[in-house]
């Protein structure tokens, strides 16, 4: 094991790309926005923060958000202000998928959500998963007082 200007390297490896070069933990407040419809969603101030841990170029985020108000007539919920920008990599290899579940919501979400972060973004998109694809109508199910549980990882730029 060695430590040099690239970071921590294991098992005699000298490649800079394989060095562990960062660790950080903290919190952030995601910013809600709606795509595909009008209206807005807000979070309760006591449940509007998620935590993150960054290890090397991988960021794990987790936590839950509680809906305060919802005035949308459709569309999907986006969460902006992620703590780091996602990587923009070859052939969409930086694309990442998250786990997201709703508790105390309204309507049917039998197949759950398709929650993803595209490349080069600081925004997470929550779409309805139809079982074979996606649709942009997730936001209507997130009624006031419902909880949105989120966790997952993404690679950063």
């Amino acid at each position: 094991m060695r430590i040099d200007g690239d970071g921590l390297k294991f098992n005699g490896d000298t490649a800079a790309a394989n060095a562990l070069d960062d660790y950080e933990e903290g919190t952030f407040q995601p910013t809600p926005s709606i795509s595909g419809a009008t209206g807005s969603i807000s979070f309760k101030s006591a449940a509007d923060t998620l935590s993150y841990t960054k290890i090397g170029d991988l960021v794990h985020i987790q936590g839950y958000l509680q809906i305060d108000t919802n005035t949308v007539n459709g569309g999907r919920l986006n969460l902006g202000n992620l703590p780091f920008t996602s990587v923009d990599s070859a052939e969409a290899s930086g694309f990442s998928l998250f786990t997201c579940q709703l508790s105390s919501g309204s309507g049917s979400q039998a197949s759950g959500f398709f929650t993803s972060i595209g490349e080069g973004l600081t925004l997470l998109q929550i779409q309805t998963y139809t079982g074979v694809g996606t649709s942009n109508d997730s936001a209507v199910t997130m009624v006031a007082n419902s909880f949105l549980f989120i966790q997952g990882q993404y690679k950063v730029a």
């Binding site: 595909g36 993150y52 080069g120 925004l123």
Partner: protein
């Protein structure tokens, strides 16, 4: 014995082809000037925000009036018209 709490921007980074600004804020607790704890909260700023109401796109320049003078200076320097145009195009592809 004096306990103090300060919040400072201790890291500002410009990341990616659209010049996203990543800001790390440190909450520092000190006792008689000696640091006891340091915790972090992050936020990121993109040059524009984009929304689609189901039929058309709206792109809005990010409001940085509430940011520190340092962050405002960085944003004004790196968020050129070319960067904003590229970000609009990218968002319409990535967020449709």
């Amino acid at each position: 014995m004096a306990i103090t709490k300060t919040i400072e921007e201790d890291k500002i980074e410009i990341v990616g082809k659209h010049k996203n600004i990543q800001i790390r804020m440190a909450t520092v607790i000190k006792e008689d000037g000696v640091e006891l704890t340091r915790s972090f909260q992050r936020k990121t700023l993109e040059c524009i925000t984009s929304s689609h109401d189901g039929s058309s796109w709206t792109h809005t320049d990010t409001d940085i009036s509430g940011e520190s003078t340092e962050v405002q200076a960085i944003a004004n320097a790196v968020w050129t018209d070319e960067i904003k145009a590229a970000k609009r195009t990218a968002n319409e592809t990535a967020l449709s």
